[in-house]
Symmetry: C2
Subunit: 352 residues, 2 copies
């Protein structure tokens, strides 16, 4: 990984040239650097029509950005003034194909100075929202989407496993919807503190207490005979359980199945890059539902930016550091330690 | 496995002594004989309060039965006359605990002459429905439950992977609900023929054609540019997909994830007894939903018996053989070959 120079991009049909104001450094990028072959394999399997990454060519990552509009390409309506600030989902339409900004050899991402986006997906940043907060729209939309995909309602009791940026985004989305109490677990004290600050009602160190046990204790009415299947048929029932898998390493899904209650719905948001093992019989016996989640839809993204701008959600505490472009490689290394950082923002105007 | 003699059971409080008229031989029993340790482990993990099987003690299996009422125990209302025919979910309440009939050392199952059931769960067999057809209530209820858990609607396009008794039961339930076209796949020609007879609209031999490919071809409008993610955003969309996993061996879930469309919902009904491997990244990229299914609820069971008795569903073709108690061990061996049998009924009044 290097911080180097590339040529300035030129906006094509219906495209916009933009300057990065702030771009969050995402765990997926760390995963991608480590497991680029698997990420390319997944792209090939799930989106065969999308131009695949070529690992031998340059790649400028960065897909959580707030930008300033620099110039418009041909065929654009120019609804937002040059110089104004905008957010966008990290995609760009190029000659009828979708390109993933930050995971494309042809379209640089937000860890560079200039990018191309589609006019179609540009959203004005309202209310003078600071650029680094607007750049949180993307990861927060991932959390919002995971909560929506869980079909979660006010009776459900949520448990968040892992309080990295994605777990924190899930907590913010749960809080926004007034759901809870929110139980969240992480081995890192710093991340547990952040989880509390962002809305977790109870944080658990799994080295000290089983988060599943505590969550089940909250779900069941006191004194219920939990281990007797007749209780479920004729007696008291627990609150329905929803677990958010926000870790993304092999074995966590199996661990969640072991810790879940019957009928628990699991939103898998952590992106485990390796093949994983689990015991289908445990999932069957409990009738577990595994909802795998990816990204967000355009309305969820836009509404997350709105919620940030209107102060309906407050996630600035996620930001634990700021670097210039030259500082990105070190930031990647720093993010490996959960005690120091959650979200580091790349601001190309900074010199270090 | 032996066909031997045990003492007659005595009905306890709110229990009923019944005589087996017909009892289907279930694939779970074949699985259980082969993987008894894993089944006990699953019981321990998912229903810790239920009395666990002791593999060193006698066990009379059989949980798909139609019975004749012989005698009532204390505290019973005796709503159904002695001599009348009944079905029941294979459970019995004994001193406040639930016992699994057919998987309990203390409560014999339907591969014997006499059983104990709870009066609470007895359902009269209506309309002179033959006992062997009434005995299909249990496996058909499993299929019905899998369809209900899939939250399937009229726009969904179903694909049934595996046409053993559970796959056939899913097909019957889909047909009952008017859903389809139903695409079903099995390597066995005999099972494909049965699948067609029970309602599959198209059957596929996976050795000849990919069932996933054919199902996707049916789901997409002709000429749609399927591989372009922009098609999903702005163009034509496929019918939503629902896949029923009715095989239950390692690797099938991974294969289904590879073959599924984006947003496919998968009902896992096949009970894979071994640990399994899959690629989370593929499931994430497609946002697959895995709903693990087990059994049925009391209303689904009762309504399946009603539908059979009213001729709303016709599943008699599933029955491919009949044996007496002495013939059960040979039937277990015969069921290993999918070309010969689907469902063998044990009728204790038969002598071979």
């Amino acid at each position: 990984m290097v911080a180097g120079e590339v040529g300035d991009p030129t906006p094509g049909e219906q495209q916009v040239l933009v300057r990065t104001l702030a771009c969050g450094i995402c765990g997926s990028d760390l995963h991608a650097v480590e497991h680029l072959d698997r990420m390319i394999d997944m792209q090939r399997k799930t989106a065969p029509g999308q131009p695949a990454l070529d690992p031998s060519r340059d790649l400028i990552m960065g897909h959580e950005f707030c930008v300033e509009i620099v110039d418009y390409g041909p065929g654009t309506a120019r609804a937002l003034p040059v110089g104004s600030r905008a957010c966008s989902m990290p995609v760009v339409v190029d000659r009828g194909r979708l390109q993933a900004v930050g995971y494309s050899n042809d379209f640089p991402g937000g860890y560079g100075e200039l990018m191309l986006l589609s006019e179609l997906t540009l959203l004005a940043v309202p209310n003078g929202l600071p650029a680094e907060i607007a750049a949180l729209t993307e990861p927060l939309a991932v959390g919002r989407h995971a909560v929506e995909k869980a079909r979660i309602g006010s009776d459900d009791l949520p448990l968040v496993i892992g309080c990295g940026p994605i777990g924190l985004a899930v907590i913010v989305a749960l809080k926004q919807k007034g759901l809870g109490p929110i139980v969240a677990a992480d081995f890192s004290a710093a991340r547990r503190a952040l989880a509390e600050r962002l809305g977790a009602d109870e944080v658990i160190d799994p080295a000290v207490l089983s988060p599943y046990q505590r969550w089940q204790d909250l779900a069941w009415p006191p004194g219920a005979e939990r281990d007797n299947p007749l209780t479920l048929l004729f007696g008291e029932r627990p609150r329905p359980g929803v677990i958010f898998e926000c870790v993304g390493v092999p074995g966590v899904i199996a661990q969640i199945c072991d810790g879940a209650m019957r009928q628990t719905r699991v939103s898998v948001v952590g992106a485990c890059m390796q093949p994983d093992r689990f015991e289908p019989l445990v999932a069957i016996g409990k009738e577990i539902n595994l909802q795998f989640c990816f990204g967000y839809d355009p309305l969820e993204f836009a509404d997350t930016l709105r919620a940030l701008a209107e102060g309906e959600i407050d996630a600035g505490a996620m930001i634990t550091g700021r670097v210039g472009i030259a500082g990105v490689p070190q930031a990647f290394r720093d993010l490996a330690s959960p005690e120091t950082h959650a979200k580091i923002i790349c601001d190309p105007s900074l010199t270090a």
